[in-house]
């Protein structure tokens, strides 16, 4: 709806600065714990103050695996800003994680924040 009429003032102003990230894990495994800490570290560095992380443990809500089409664990989903992006793994490779989130400096119009 946003891209339909970008100059329409009737729609509430979205907050493009706000990042909504969802991390799917399955129990407190070493990979899951690593992913959580790696994600926090990267966000603090690159998106300080404008990110929100939601961790979903599929062992508690297994039905979400089907609903959100999760195959690999851990999976990080960038829900906002659109489009949706998926990164899998424990996020130990920071460079690749930044590429996945499109936070790499050369693409990075948002990097200066």
């Amino acid at each position: 709806m946003m891209d339909a009429s970008p100059h329409n003032d009737m729609t509430p102003e979205p907050r493009p600065e706000n990042w909504l990230l969802r991390l799917y894990i399955a129990g407190q495994t070493p990979k899951s714990l690593a992913a959580i800490s790696n994600l926090h570290r990267i966000c603090e560095q690159h998106l300080a103050g404008k990110f929100e992380i939601e961790v979903i443990d599929l062992l508690r809500t297994p039905e979400l695996a089907e609903a959100d089409k999760i195959i690999a664990i851990p999976t990080l989903v960038r829900r906002l800003p659109e489009p949706l992006r998926k990164i899998i793994g424990d996020l130990s490779n920071t460079e690749k994680t930044l590429v996945g989130l499109q936070l790499e400096p050369k693409h990075g119009h948002l990097l200066d924040g």
Partner: protein, 566 residues
Amino acid sequence: MTTMSVSQLQKCPTGITGFDDITGGGLPRGRPTLLAGHAGTGKTLFALEFILHGIERHGEPGVFVSFEETPAEIAINVASIGFDLALHQLENRLRVLHIDLGPDELVESGEYDLDGLFLRLGAAIDATGAQRIALDGVENLFAAFDDLRILRAEFRRLMCWFKDRNITAVVTTERGVATITRHGLEEYIADCVVTLDQRVDDQIATRRLRIVKYRGSAHGSDECPFVLDRNGFIVMPLSSAGLDYPVSSEKLSTGIGSLDSMLVGGIFRGSSVLVSGRSGTGKSSIAAHLVNAACARGERSLYVALEESPAQILRNMSSIGFDLKQWVDAGLLRFHAARPTARGLESHLVALSGMVEEFTPQIVVIDPITSLNSGQDSERVKAMLIRAVDLFKSRGITSLFTALTAGDEAPESTSVAVSSLVDVWLLLRNLESTGERTRALYVCKARGTAHSNQVREFLLTTEGVRLVDVMLGASGEILTGSGRLMREQQQTAERVASQADADQRRAILERRRRELDAKISALRAEYEEEIDALNAEIEQGHELSSRKSSTLSALARVRGNTGSAE
């Protein structure tokens, strides 16, 4: 716990026609099976039937996991072969999962596993209590991730997970170029590996299935043809797993009394008969006799006409006195006409098998099998006929095949080398002599029967076939037709001639006897006359002498007073 003996491998029936026969009962239960084939070879259908037959026939719930097609596409595919996916899903016997790997670019950063997939499969398995699972198109899973090291490890873990849960799995994937599968999955699924293949010969597509490996189970390594049709996935075993069908010792009449006596009472029920001969030797007539006799007994017959139309066959048979149409009308005789070239051999066999299932005939005639040969390699035709014979025998159906011998072939040869498959082989021959062509019949072979070794002349009359003993000529040659008639007449004449001769000689003897008798009577009369004369003479002599002595004594008495008394 009691000590576990090495238990025999349990089989999990797929319900796929023919497949369970060649595997001795199905797939290894509680283990994964790899099914590899190129696109369009029927992998998905195999996997679907495995799951759906499991639900419908064996009460085993299942999960179908597609890495390619959407559930809607799958539902459409199986609706055409009569499965209702929605109902099974509603009643919790089935889950269809679509693992959408999508076109989204996945970025991989560090270590991961496929626990998401495990969770989704686990949820579906738990919801249905599934005992069977199919993973269709796993090459797509491998294509979606970069780290093949992780994928392989996870795939191995998945297979072990199925085994631990005692779930029988079918995993389908693309064929590789040098290996069975593109990702070398055969390394992880070692229990059972099946390949599907499709090739096109003479514009006819033939699909083949091969069991490459089946650990712990005997299996044929032959390629078995299969078809995909409205009845689904149908495998045709090259030969049945065993030859252990029941045999009957009941003899059936061929409808030709004299042929029955050559075969000591007819043919065994459930046996197969080959009638071979050149064009016009009367092969179809023998078939018509068998069919007519069966229908008259109230049995059903299926007549597969590969060359002539049913109408033509009915007309031809009425010319030798058969009203086969009455049996058609009574529902006892069914014709199936098909041009052999119009379809592949396998399709023919499938059509045949379908008709056998539906019509349940006691007699099947295929007339002529040789026309299956056109444009086909004869090994394939033979393989198809072996399967046809097996199909009939396993159901106790008596079958008759006619085979046309081509002009340049030896009479004993059939272009379809099936004579070894059949139980009875009747050979029809044309004999040319005395300026005409006649027909002769031999029993080349009759398993389990002390059959006649003789040749019979084969007559087609308006009352059907008649077999006549042949005559042997002066030098032992077979005489038929007018040659036989001439020989018969000649023999009659000879008999008549010798009869007349005997009568004449008997008359002479009689006359001589009578002459002799007359002579004897005359001699006896003469002799008696002589005796009488002699007796009369003796009598006379005696009388004279006694009269003389009495005269003398009278004289003595007179003279005695003077002489001797004093």
